[in-house]
């Protein structure tokens, strides 16, 4: 027993050592235009194909010795008169040592603020000689940064003499002789790719540590490897709806973290103009994975987690209709994430954005999508399979397994919302799967579904994708509607106002959601008649959504509102989701969409809806149902801190993006050259870092309260639906005896032995034979 304990701890120790050795971020965001020093900073065209060469760099330096460096800048693509073209400016800086002009270059090269640059006399020269004198200490590595400009030197443009200028940056480092003792390897500068992968590994490690900790807390006596494997085996093979729900939850939390790491990395890239923290390829695959991860691997699994956990409890069923299919749905999802991330791990991350627009995504080669895209598309197909499997389960369960008294119009609103969401998913998924299968075939066996030159149609992809994609955003927001309905009613100690109109509004959104996809394509060259139709239908979605918001407000009327953490999240949802809904009204308008389409205004809008809507709703659900799942409440003080930072941070991150969108900043841009956008972008990036850090409060709260939380009892918040009648945590199977839901509107309770409608009879009929 004791030896096993030692073995587990030494395993953890090795993991910690591995973590400590992961690469560190040391990239330096620079660009010629942001130098602020004389030299070539007077020209700041875009980063381009300028070639920089430096000759004479030593392999390692000796203290105090001088080295003669030769610099050459050229760019044949810069237009201009022949005599004056391809002139170059340069600025060379080093982290240690001193510079001086090279031999015979005293008039052409000068030293300014520690770095070397050329003088005015050097304007017409393309090659320079510079001396660098090494520092006195050999025990260091000196980093060199050289910014090189190629300019056309022909100042006759329209008020802009530097048209076509381009710069590039060359970095290198030279180790001191002392650092090379024994031929030891150098520590190289970290690549953002490595940072991302390290962060993913870090997440997985944290996750493993958490698993071990939870295992230990469950049974401190039986803490050994044999116990761990059998415990893990139980989790890997479970079909109980609560345990599969927990798997979904933990999984979604892991990917929420990974998706956040990607977003923070590209927020650092975007924080200043002309930044080069990430390369273009890295940026493109990071925003692709951020979007796909957040939608498919974080939001949807978290919804599935709550649907798994809560639906059978709310409708009084012992388990879901198809427990094994349910488990299969989860494991298909888990393995699809390996496909989605396979590309990134190999350095060829998919760079097609979450919309995967063909024909870029179907093209390969030098300028096409990267090789990892094929794996990515295969992963999306697997995600479709997973969603289909879990969706059929929820629909069947809700239709056929409701306890006596839980009629359609007496069903808790969260169950209703999950039903509508899964029905929508079910109708829309085939479009995505067909589209991605076409795409997969285009990429692998050379079909031409999206190749215009061979008779294919690029717009077909946009139609197929958005026929799925727009219902999909309702699929992730509608369960949040259900959660907020439950939380607000319970917190106000009242029943929900207008239960029936709430259900009809949900159904209305469910139907309208299928006829609005074209507002994503208003500028795509689609038929103008379709544009008119989509504009009208899209505007109509505001009506049922408005009904829901006002019903929520009316629910508060005459109540006695308690401010628990889940209440705060739901109230926060009301604020941010309303703002996101209002900004959504800007897009169906053709005259506005011609500007807003594919700008940061869109990014602001859908983050208000997905973060301020879905994520806030899910956070509300975490604080609301955590006691039911574990028997202990989450810490309210930590919860308040988490809410305040996230709510303010969320608005600080996404509100300024509206302004950037109005100013015309396009989305999916690796970098931008408009200096006036820097201020807002820096503010956004800083806020994003703070908001990201705040999420660790929630993770800590979840772990801490598992052991130390206040015990909750059956019904800690005063809810009415059936999940509050059972113990916390509920037994397995979830009800030993099928409960009966009473009805406060009827005074004499006379339920027939077997109530339930047509579907329930069909179900029972086939089962009893």
């Amino acid at each position: 027993m004791k030896r096993n304990k030692i073995r587990v701890f030494s395993l953890l120790f090795v993991v910690f050592i591995a973590l400590a050795a992961t690469p560190q971020i040391t990239s330096l965001p620079t660009g010629v235009g942001t130098l602020g020093n004389p030299g070539c900073s007077c020209h700041s065209g875009g980063a381009g194909t300028t070639a920089i060469d430096v000759f004479g760099m030593p392999d390692s330096f000796t203290a105090g010795e001088s080295y003669e460096l030769k610099i050459s800048i050229s760019n044949p693509a810069i237009p201009g008169g022949e005599l004056t073209s391809n002139m170059g400016g340069f600025r060379l800086i080093a982290s240690a040592g001193t510079f001086g002009p090279g031999e015979n270059f005293t008039d052409l090269v000068q030293v300014l603020e520690g770095g070397a640059t050329h003088t005015e006399l050097g304007n017409d020269v393309r090659d320079w000689n510079v001396t660098w004198t090494a520092p006195d200490s050999e025990g260091q590595i000196v980093d060199f940064t050289l910014h090189g400009n190629a300019v056309n030197g022909n100042a006759i443009g329209e008020g802009n003499g530097n048209t076509g200028d381009a710069w590039a940056t060359y970095t290198t480092s030279v180790p001191g002789a002392a650092t090379l003792g024994g031929g030891g390897a150098l520590i190289e500068q970290a690549e953002p790719y490595e940072v991302a992968i390290a962060a993913i590994l870090f997440g997985i490690t944290l996750f493993s540590i958490m698993l071990v900790y939870v295992f230990y807390r469950n049974n401190p006596e039986g803490f050994n490897l044999n116990g761990l494997t059998s415990w893990l085996k139980k989790w890997l093979t479970t079909t109980d709806h609560k345990e599969v729900g927990t798997l979904y939850f933990v999984y979604s939390f892991l990917f929420l973290f990974i998706g956040m790491v990607f977003s923070l990395l590209f927020r650092i890239q975007l924080s200043v103009a002309d930044n080069d923290f990430l390369t273009q390829d890295q940026y493109n695959s990071f925003f692709t994975l951020h979007g796909t991860t957040m939608i498919f691997l974080a939001a949807m699994p978290m919804i599935a987690a709550f649907a798994n956990w809560i639906i059978p409890l709310q409708i009084g069923a012992k388990d879901l209709a198809f427990p094994r299919i349910n488990a299969m749905g989860f494991w298909v999802l888990a393995f699809s994430s390996i496909l989605l991330y396979g590309g990134v791990m190999a350095g060829e991350g998919a760079d097609i954005s979450w919309t995967m627009y063909a024909p870029y995504s179907s093209s390969g080669g030098e300028k096409g999508a990267s090789a990892g895209t094929t794996l990515f598309v295969a992963g999306i197909i697997m995600l479709g399979i997973s969603s289909t499997l879990s969706g059929v389960n929820f629909i069947a369960t809700i239709m056929a397994m409701r306890a006596p008294g839980v009629t359609w119009m007496k069903m808790p609103l969260f169950t209703w919302s999950a039903f509508v969401a899964n029905a929508m998913l079910y109708i829309s998924l085939p479009a995505l799967i067909i589209g991605t299968v076409y795409l997969y075939l285009d990429r692998t066996i050379g079909t031409v579904f999206y190749t215009a030159a061979s008779g294919g149609d690029p717009i077909l992809w946009a139609h197929l994708f958005w026929f799925f994609g727009h219902p999909e955003v309702y699929v992730v927001i509608i369960p949040a509607f259900g959660i907020v309905s439950e939380v607000l009613a319970t917190s106000a100690k009242r029943s929900i106002f207008g239960y029936r109109s709430m259900v009809y509004a949900l159904a209305g959104i469910g139907v309208l959601g299928f006829v609005v996809w074209g507002h994503h394509m208003l500028t795509s060259g689609m038929d103008p008649t379709l544009r008119l139709i989509m504009m009208l239908t899209t505007m109509l979605v505001a009506i049922p959504t408005g009904v829901k918001i006002f019903n929520w407000l009316a629910t508060l009327w005459g109540g006695s509102l308690v401010f628990k953490t889940h209440t705060l999240w739901s109230l926060g949802f009301l604020v941010t989701f309303t703002m996101g809904g209002i900004s959504g009204m800007f897009f169906p308008v053709a005259g506005l969409d011609t500007h807003f389409h594919d700008t940061y205004f869109v990014v602001a809008h859908f983050h208000y809806v997905l973060v301020g809507g879905t994520i806030f709703g899910m956070f509300s659900a975490i604080y609301y149902w955590y006691p039911k799942a574990t028997g202990r409440k989450l810490d309210e003080k930590l919860g308040l801190l988490h809410f305040v930072i996230t709510f303010i941070g969320m608005n600080a991150v996404f509100w300024p993006m509206h302004q950037l969108g109005i100013e015309g900043m396009p989305r999916r841009y690796h970098t931008y050259s408009v200096d006036s956008w820097t201020e807002l972008n820096s503010f956004i990036s800083l806020s994003a870092l703070i908001m990201g850090a705040a999420q660790f409060i929630l993770a800590w709260n979840l772990i801490k309260s598992y052991k130390y939380g206040e015990e909750s009892g059956k019904d800690p918040w005063g809810g009415w639906s059936l999940e509050w009648t059972t113990t916390s945590p509920p037994p397995t199977p979830s009800f030993h005896e099928i409960p009966t839901q009473e009805d406060a509107n009827i005074h004499h309770h006379a339920y027939p032995e077997s109530s339930g409608g047509l579907f329930s009879k069909m179900w029972k009929g086939s089962g009893s034979k």
């Binding site: 875009g46 048209t163 024909p359 029936r500 109509l540 500007h595 396009p666």
Partner: protein, 261 residues
């Protein structure tokens, strides 16, 4: 001296006595209308929310439970048909009103440039998008006043770019600089080009100062029409994600010539 202009959308190109197709003023006036109604709806909702949250907060923990809420019992339903109809009908009217306004702009934005009155006066160009840059083909000429050495005006001449290219029928701009005449209807045909044997992909020329864009779609000709009202240098971005150097795919638009009265 930054070479990339930092520009301010609201300050540029809002003038013009008559509205051309896709004139910037359409965007501006629609944005103002939408901002106004957003504020009305938002302020109404949030003031109501704050009032309700403060007025109906919990005062003492043993407040009476008016809706008979107990675990396992569907609570007393409450609704009010008049209220629910109110917040069904009022937003419906607002939405229909806004759709009506938006509808008119729609007709103006995507008018068929070749069926329009006075189409012969329009300045025709073709914008060709490739990975990653723009080619511009001119089908008409830009005329500017010919100023002689002593400052007097001597008739009209064809506008020549700083590189010496005359902007006339058949001229091609391949250096990411587009030249347009002022105060004249521009009709731009948008096409794509495969570059070096690869497939052509989607792009979208986006003129942020004029608030218009339209996708370039392989196998399809799309159009934009608009009227620049002020001379100056403007931006052209690519707005549809097109691969590695999507963010480097920009050009400068130079509006030249006389804007007239």
């Amino acid at each position: 001296m930054p070479t990339v202009n930092s520009w301010n959308v609201s300050a540029q190109n809002v003038g013009g006595s008559t509205l051309g197709p896709a004139d910037y003023t359409i965007f501006r006036s629609l944005l103002e209308t939408w901002n106004f109604w957003s504020l009305v709806v938002g302020i109404f909702t949030f003031v109501l929310l704050i009032y309700l949250v403060i007025r109906f907060r919990e005062v003492s923990p043993d407040d009476s439970n008016i809706d008979s809420i107990a675990p396992g019992v569907f609570p007393k339903e409450r609704d009010n048909l008049t209220l629910e109809l109110t917040w069904f009908i009022v937003p419906t009217i607002l939405v229909l009103y806004l759709t009506f306004i938006a509808w008119q702009s729609m007709i103006t934005v995507w008018v068929d440039p070749y069926s329009e009155e006075g189409a012969d006066d329009a300045f025709d160009i073709t914008i060709e998008a490739y990975q990653w840059g723009w080619n511009f083909y001119y089908h008409d000429e830009i005329q500017v006043l010919n100023e002689t050495e002593n400052g007097s005006v001597n008739g009209m001449k064809i506008y020549a770019t700083p590189m010496g290219t005359e902007i006339k029928d058949g001229a091609i701009g391949i250096d990411n600089n587009l030249y347009l005449p002022c105060n004249q209807l521009i009709k731009a045909k948008i096409i794509t080009k495969a570059d070096g044997g690869e497939l052509p992909v989607l792009h979208a020329p986006f003129f942020p100062e004029w608030a218009i864009k339209e996708d370039a779609v392989p196998g399809l000709e799309t159009y934009l029409s608009f009227t620049p009202r002020e001379t100056g240098t403007y931006n052209l971005f690519c707005a549809e994600y097109c691969g590695q150097q999507h963010s480097k795919m920009f050009a400068k638009v130079h509006v030249v010539g006389q804007c007239g009265e």
